[in-house]
Structure formats: structure tokens, C-alpha cells
Amino acid sequence: MSVQNLTTFDPFADEGDPLGDSQDVGSQADYIHIRIQQRNGRKTLTTLQGLPKQYDSKKILKAFKKEFACNGTLVDDEKMGQVIQLQGDQRAKISNFLTENGIEKSTIKVHGF
């Protein structure tokens, strides 16, 4: 006979250890960050950081460049990993593009003004 209330059950078992997966607490690894930077004059630069590993950033960059009609490059950063850099303010367009192609909107963070 088993009393249901007395059985030990960990409700967070399937979640895994929240701190074990990532190196530092409260990391931004699970978010896709879209940022903007001002250049000289009216020019701006958009950076896309934290793209999940299963996506090929090279191909995505190619699609961005064709879709948004802008130039761009792939930057390797020691801390941030691969970062897509695009010319001009493409934040809204990137966000739309990613959500239309099956990325959760809640994982995308658009920064900037």
C-alpha cells in the first residue's frame, strides 16, 4: 500500500538543474539579443547575438542580406561567440524574420531606443 502524499516527488525533476547548465547565474544564453549601435551621422549598426547553435549563422546572414537589402558580416567574439552584424537599423525586420521562421518571440530581446 502506498500513500500518495508520502511518496517523494520532485516536481522540478524534468527541469534539470537550472544553474548547472550554464556557467554563470542569470546568463543571457537563452535569449537572442538584437542590439543597435550608432555610427557616424545617421548611420547605425544592428547586431544579432545569441543565435541558437542549431542554426547556421552563415546561411542566416545570407538570408538577412538578401531579405533586408543590406550588407553584413559575421563577427567572432571571444565572449559572445558568433555575432551577426548588419548595416542599418534592422531590428524590427530581424525580429519579424525570426518569428516567422519558428523562433519563439519570448526568446527574442530587442534592445536600443
Binding site: R35, Q37, Q38, V83, H111, F113
Partner: protein, 367 residues
Amino acid sequence: MASEEPLFDPTLKKRKKKQVAFTEDPLGADADPTAPAPDTIDSTTLNGDAVDLGPTTAHEAMKEGADKKKEDDEFKAMFGDMKKKKKKKEIPLDFGNDSGTSTPTTTTAPPAEAPPAIIASDDLDFSDIKKKKKSSKKKAAFDLDAFEKELNEHKAKAAEDEEEEGVEPSTHLDHLDEAELGEDPFAQGEAPVGVEAGTEAWLKSDRDYTYQELLTRFYASLHAANPSLLSSSSQKRYTIAPPSIHREGNKKTIFANVTDICKKMHRQPEHVIQFLFSEMGTTGSVDGAGRLVIKGRFQQKQVENVLRRYIVEYVTCKTCKSPDTLLTKENRIFFMACESCGSRRSVNPIKSGFQAQVGKRSKNKTG
């Protein structure tokens, strides 16, 4: 009826004096101290009933309309009756008008008049009141009054409907006057229009009270008991002054009231500035006057957007949406504690992401 009469006695006496003045001055009614101007206009036109009373005040306009209807009805109904009676009625009607003008304007009369108005929603009482006034004015025998009463009641049952319309506004006006005299105008002003009369009506009846009636009654009594509730409910919104943004030179922006805004939000300016810089992807410094100098061109709307995001992220409590929170740092992690609901949670550290190389490489130390 008989029970109401003693209530009216003092006012009637007051009116007698005034009405004596009326009889002496049928045209001007200059004895009215409160509203001399409209009456003089009346005197110029001589038959002030129809035309000139209207524009003076809304109250009078209402009563006039009623009186006009009365007159019309009288003319319709009285074709069969005697002409003498016509005259008799027309004269009192004129006085009724005058008394009508006097009732809203004189401040002494309404408080005495109002309670009976609450008690009796019957219109006959008011018509009687008017007749009493008339009688007092004329100082005529009671027979005349009786005649008039009979005539009015018999002849114009159709006219009574109009009289209702004519009388009811007067009750409202009396209430309003009372409210003006009263201590808290909001509660009293609102209540009498529908509620007080309504309560009198349905409190005595045996039927089930409707939800709406009880609700209005509850709110009326609540607001009467503590009038402070009336205004405070809508002013809870969290507001801060908009950031004042100026341009310094061509490439720098000055955020002048950053310290004020930080004080208003109860946050350290360093924290706010750090967030601003990381969000806008730029750098800057605080000058001697406590203003923030930001590199790059930013408009007020843009800074406002970033500040709004900061407030959502680091100021408002996620549980109860209250902006009354404290931000403390413990072991390199920021915790936000809510003052109103007591919740405590960690907030995301401010991290500036990838910063692309902008400008000349030679100016950059690391590059």
C-alpha cells in the same frame, strides 16, 4: 398633506413678505435681492412669462416650459369653463412664475423646502404648495383657493402630467441648492437626484430591492461617509517627469534631469546610467552639474523608451505592479524587494552585449 404643512409654515411666512412686494410691484419684483437683473428684463416686456424668463437661468427655463404647457392645456381645457376662472388662474400662474424665480435664487427657502420634497414625490402636494403661496400672496379668502384647487384638479388631469414635469425639476433644483449649502457637495449633489428619492420610494415598499438600487444606495452612503474616496481612486498612476534632452555639439546628447528621475524612481543613478548605456549601445559620462552626457544623438522619445523599459524591468514589482520597490545588491546579485506586497526577487544583471567596432581603430585602445 396636513403633516407637511407645518414644515412649510416658516418659508411661507418668509414668502408672504416677498410676495407683498410682488403685489406692490407687479412688474419689476425689485424686492428680490438675489436676482434683480432678470426681473427688470421681465418688466420691460411686460408679459415676461413666455419670452424673457427663459434665457436668464436654466431653472427658470424649465419652469417656464411647464407653465407654457399649463397655459396651453388651460386654453384647451377651459373652452367650456367660465372666463372669470381663466383670469383667476392666469393670475396665480404668473405668481407661480415669480415664486419659481424666487425659490432657486433665495438661499433661505430651499433647505426648508427640500425635506418635504424628498418625502413626497407626489406632485399634487407641490401644486398645493404653489396654491398656498398664491393664497398668501393674494391674502384672499380660502374660498378662492378652494375654487382654484378644484379647478386645477378637475380640469387639468392631463395638465398634471405637465405639472409633474414642471415640479420635478424644481425639487431637483432645491436639492442642488441644499447641496451647495451643505458641507460636502459631491455626495449630496449626487444622491438626491436619483437615490434619496428612490430610497424613500423603495425602502417602504415590500418588493425585492434590485441590485442597482442597493448598489447606488451603498455608494451614496459610502461617499457621504468618507468623501476622500471620490477623488483618490483615479490618481494612482505612476508618473515621472519626462527626460529633458539637449544636444551638446554635434555628437553628444545631454540628459539633464537624470538625477531627478533616479530620485523619483528610488534607484542609484549609476545603475540607471549603466542600463541606459548598455541599452543604447554607447558610452558617456556625468558632468559637473550632475547631467549625463551621452555619446551619440538621441531624441527625447528614444531616451523615454529606454527609461520605460528600465522601469518595467527594475522598478515595478512583477507581482503587484507597484513602483514602490527597493533594489539591493547581495553577493553581486541585485534583489528587488517590494514595499507594498513584500515580494522579493532577483533581477537580471545589466550586461552590455557585443559592442561592434565603431570609428577608427587607432582611437580604440583595445583594437
